[in-house]
Amino acid sequence: MSRMKLNLGPQHPSTHGVLRLILDVDGEKILGCEQVIGYLHRGMEKMAEGMTYLQYLPTVDRIDYLSGFFNSYAYVTAVEKLLKLTIPERASIIRVLLMELNRIASHLLWLGTYLLDLGAVSPFFYTFRERELILNYFEKISGQRMMYNYFVFGGVRHDIEYVNEIMPIVKTIVEKLDDYEKLLTDNPIFISRTKNTGVLDREEALAYSITGPNLRASNSHLDFRSQSEIYKKFEFKIAKAEAGDCFARYKVRLEEIRESSKIIYQAVDILLSSGGEYNTGLNPVNLNIEAGEAFADVETPRGLTTCCIKSDGSGTPYRVKWRTGSFYAVQILPKLLTGNMISDIMAIYGSLDVMLPEVDR
């Protein structure tokens, strides 16, 4: 018996951020695990209390820097609810289009880095090459690759441009997905490392408030997009798998890229065939927000993100509360890791797609 405590992180290349795991190991076997979060805490919620509504808007992209549009969307929608503002039809379609592109970019990054954690290097380069196409497009329309600051209260900042370029980008990515599947789905090394490891069943996932692809890989169909107003015009299937292991989570995410591409095709068709306003033309410099509370939710690549704002009638928010999907994915780690080997840690942890800046905020 060689029972000992093993410290993993906070500076570990595979945690994609700074997460510390205190492992209780017996040889190679994990008996327990305690997760320490907070190394990336920037006080995003407290920060809002000293800023105006408009000043806080560019900073919300940094909560989850791989899917900035989603955070912007949650915050902007909550403020719009406080202002009792209805946004133009075209603006909401532009928002859906950009968010789905962002979802594809985020899943591609997850795929590349997950395989890098498992020891496969070449898929990392391929997924980043394809992700670059999307990021270059975002740079063209918003000015930056990851910190967009593109959604504003009442619509989007500029009318969408270069719409014709989106279709070829998404087509290439969907074609390349088959390439990745050739590399991975039948690969015996990948299968033996991911199948039947980190099995999360549906009841447990629901009890731990897991959302997003992690939950849908455990035989659940909960997708907040299907209940959302802005997604009502679009037809898409909810990606789902039954096994609940790492391989199922991989399958769900690949399937989600395909489903997102379908939404993008529909959105591009609508945008090309119709015109209209993209912004209500509200000047947000001196917002007159009444006292009250507003709540907005959005299905991000990592689960449900909600933003709750309480206003006291002054120029700054009284309180802003964020709920992010990754925070709950970290909480389930001890349950999933216990009983597995040390070499399985990264296979399980990576498959949950945890984004540390989103955990600590």
């Binding site: 000043q55 560019p58 063209k140 000015g143 910190m147 600051n149 900042r157 590399l183």
Partner: protein, 131 residues
């Protein structure tokens, strides 16, 4: 046995997929020699022209990076603290006269603290002189 052959086939297919990429064109950019082709809206170093000193950019800046000094209705100093600036572009979007712009200059590294306090009114005047 069939399972073994199948896995060998999958591995060979994977290797072939990787091998195909050997003959494709490189997608990376040799940065210091080749410069990236930046879009028009890129948010880089600031330029200022025709500031009226209304102070809206100060109001909307999330990092309080902008300091404006005025005397007698004329802007005498317009400083952006580049250590604080996060290039969100709010100052550009909400400027009523389109005076401040974020350009495509992204090589902003410097070794002196003074240069990070970007004094923009000088560029404004020198450009006005040229015209």
């Amino acid at each position: 046995m069939i399972k073994f052959l199948k896995s060998i086939k999958a591995l060979l297919e994977g290797m072939f997929t990787v091998f195909k990429h050997l003959f494709k064109k490189s997608v990376t950019l040799q940065y210091p020699e080749e410069l990236p082709n930046l879009p028009e809206r890129f948010r880089g170093g600031h330029t200022l022209k025709g500031c009226i000193g209304c102070g809206i950019c100060q109001q909307v800046c999330p990092c309080n990076a902008i300091t404006i000094k005025k005397s007698g209705g004329k802007v005498t100093s317009y400083t952006i603290n580049m250590r604080k600036c996060m290039f969100c572009g709010n100052c550009q979007y909400y400027c009523p006269v389109g005076a401040i712009k974020l350009g495509t200059d992204f090589e902003l590294a410097t070794d002196s603290n003074k240069e990070l306090l970007n004094e923009l009114i000088e560029t404004n005047e020198s450009e006005a002189d040229k015209e």
